[in-house]
Amino acid sequence: MPRVSSPAAIGVVVLLLAIVLPVATVLAFVGADTQGLWAHLARTVLDRYVLNTIALVVGVATLSAVAGVGTAWLVTMYEFPFRRVLEFALVLPLAMPAYILAYAYTDLLQVTGSVQTALRDATGWGVRDYWFPNVRSLGGAIFVLSAALYPYVYLISRAAFLEQSASAVEVARTLGLSRTQSFIRIAVPMARPAIVAGTMLIAMETLADFGAVKYFDLEVMTTGIYRAWFAYGNPAAAAQLASLLLVAVFAVVTLEQASRGARRYAAQGSTAREVTRSRLTPLNAAAATALCALPFVCGFAVPAVVLVAMSIDAGGEINATRLATLTANTAALAVVAATIAVALAALVSYASGRTASLARQLARFAYLGYATPGVIAGVGLLIVAGGADALLRSGAGVQGLVLSGSFAVLVYAYIVRFFAVAHGPIDAAYAKLGPRYGEAARTLGHKPAAVFWRIDAPLMQGTVLAAAALVFVDVMKELPATMILRPFNFDTLATEAFQLATTERLDQAAVPSLTIAAAGLIPVVLLCLGMRRARHGAIEVQP
């Protein structure tokens, strides 16, 4: 049977070009004239942008790697109270985007917040009588981003520890190493590629973050790009800053890919047998429980409680009609984007076949879209849409802005960002399904279309739904591209919460934020179910 038809390969190439178009546009501006703004920026703020960005990335990567690997180590190697609950609870912070944590911690820790008020009530100090750390600072941003992002390292290193053959650690112990020694000398080095990959993913997300740093008024690359465009109205300077950021992002992605490659190699020949967890003395067990609870408390429990309290405070001022409109807007965008992303992913996966083909290799490039920060995708598409509108005006005589500020461009941006989110699981499931079922169905007298609907589709159903849920939630959370590209007077939950928070109506930002976090729980719960299944080895339906 022919495997790859050329129309399929052409389709994949077109899709790929569409996905790299915004990035290519930004890069095309590298040499453009900025009317002296670039020189001005270079003289004045560029140093600060770069240094702050580096400090932020290094800080977040370090803090979340320590938290993620440490907790993964404890839950896989030791038995302690609440271990099973914490094993899953540690994933929950993934539900909350960093900017929502930023709102919650600002409310909690600002001068008028409950912590400082309680402190003053207890001590009788006045507002100026003491020093209190300012959460809206570089340190605060490192804390907030780490609390939101550490689960990436936690998940990936936990999986690495679990998938390591228990025999490797057991052999080390028969060779005279203690449990702790064998863990440090055998398990961690074996998991190192996974840990590096997780940390690089966090570095990538930190470089791309816009909401939290913008809310904290930090001068980093993403906020600099936004300011160059919207405050100075200088697309060329914005694009040049964006190119600089892209170089950093792609460097990180390359590192991540390299360590993943190594990880595949390292995982070979491992068995599924789990390490038997050892019991701890009561004191150590309590310490382990506390240590594992800490990231969960910081990344989920505290902000959730604060947001609920804020919502109650804001109770009277919440406009139910407005909230319904926002939710409907957000859901409509997310449903449309998720449907298109999943359909495209399924088509690319099906068209490129199950074997290594050119189309499949090309599809990997689409992952660059996922690595592209939302600000850059937004700015890039703004340039593309503006250029297309200008062409329409001069060519077809169409007046006004057809593409700029349209839903189509916004959905396009989401597809650029999140195609990979849908393609990853669908392609993996399709490859895992293998060609056998289809071949068996063909020899039993069914045509390819019938095979697709009666065999492939029902078997892939679960994965497709899960992939759609992932894209849905990512679209809901997405802030910068939405802010930049949304149609005039059109708001989503994320943009509304951001505007309320930045215009000193923080309490009112709580309800839309909670709605986003609640939706964010969907994929996290799916993930936890997956973790459970993987542990019981019951993912396979067939022997």
Binding site: M1, P2, R436, Y437, E439, A440, A441, R442, T443, L444, G445, H446, K447, I455, P458, L459, V541, Q542, P543
Partner: protein, 342 residues
């Protein structure tokens, strides 16, 4: 009548040749196996017969119908072949009755009846409503067979169908399958890398290497008259004894066998069971004697005067075998010894 006929079929994956000048015809109701090491092209031949690969040259007929060659390509669904995969590929989202009925063209009551009959045939009567994962490995195997047989294909293709089963179950399934297929008179092409399985299951065996057939013959002929060294060594332990030719005879230290058409330095290949061991003598010393169930496997060190180096293997009946260290004499069973050019 032929059930399946390959004529001069050639196929390659990129630069690697998978099949060269492959010609084979199987008869109605005949079970033919393709036997060879992995990479010998046997699975490619099977996939070509099923229509899952298209050969670059040659023709393939299923029954009288041309399915490959001369610009013709009939897709798998229109070929009238059944295929049983190594990993079975039972559809996990369907009950076993639905699996079995999947290839049936009929509908309604007739369809259910036919599926029930087939499950009956493979000993799974009344279990149609369970899902594949609820069955044991042997039961899944039977369902896969029933599914492949359901549309009454002109020829049934089996791709190492027993490799996922344990030894005991494998032997039981072989027995059941041969008797069922013979009872139904099904024409079968069967791929395996297990010589014992091929000998047990088949009316004829085609031994393959590097994409070509070396010999096609009934099991007994293959065992007693292999055409070359590779075929000879494929079935069990074999001893290679260098020999010279004199008067059309291959002369070894343990006797001479017929060596028609050969000259110069040759090798005599002797099956372990063709090396006859007698107590007392001056050919070899017993190095070890291990019991293999039905017979003993002896390892023998030839004495220096034979001019042979290396260990010889032979078989002996349990209980009457020589002790370790004992000197023995050796003789060749001419039916199990074959002379080939070196």
């Amino acid at each position: 009548m032929t059930a399946l006929k390959f004529e001069r079929v050639g196929h390659s994956y990129g630069t690697r040749t998978a099949l060269r000048d492959f010609t084979l015809a199987t008869g109605d109701g005949e079970i033919v196996s393709l036997l060879g090491p992995s990479g010998s092209g046997k699975t490619t031949a099977l996939r070509i017969a099923a229509g899952l690969e298209s050969p670059q040259s040659g023709t393939v007929h299923v029954g009288e119908k041309l399915v490959n060659g001369a610009g013709v390509y009939i897709p798998p669904e229109a070929r009238d072949v059944g295929l049983l995969f190594q990993d079975l590929a039972l559809f996990p989202h369907m009950t076993i009755a639905e699996n079995v009925a999947f290839g049936l063209r009929t509908a309604g009551r007739e369809r259910r009846t036919r599926a029930g009959e087939l499950l009956d045939l493979v000993g799974l009567a009344g279990q149609g409503n369970v899902f594949p994962h609820q069955l044991s490995g042997g039961q899944q195997q039977r369902v896969a067979l029933a599914r492949a047989l359901a549309p009454s294909p002109r020829v049934l293709l089996l791709d190492e169908p027993f490799s996922s089963l344990d030894v005991v179950l494998r032997q039981q399934m072989r027995r059941e399958m041969v008797s069922l297929l013979k009872q139904l008179g099904t024409s079968v092409l069967f791929v395996t890398h297990d010589p014992e399985e091929a000998l047990y299951m088949s009316d004829r065996v085609a031994v393959m290497r590097d994409g070509a057939i070396l010999q096609v013959a009934p099991p007994e002929t293959l065992y007693l008259a292999p055409v070359d060294r590779f075929v000879a060594s494929f079935f069990g332990h074999i001893n290679i004894i260098p020999a010279g030719v004199a008067d059309g005879q291959a002369v070894t230290p343990f006797g001479a066998i017929d060596a028609k058409g050969l000259s110069g330095d040759i090798d005599v290949l002797v099956r372990a069971e063709g090396l006859i061991v007698a107590p007392g003598g001056s050919h070899a010393a017993v190095r070890s004697a291990r019991i293999l169930g039905a017979s003993m496997l002896l390892e023998l060190d030839p004495v220096p005067s034979t001019g042979l180096s290396g260990v010889l293997t032979a078989r002996a009946a349990v209980g009457s075998h020589p002790a370790v260290g004992e000197r023995v004499s050796l003789a060749l069973d001419p039916r199990l010894s074959f002379a080939f050019a070196r």
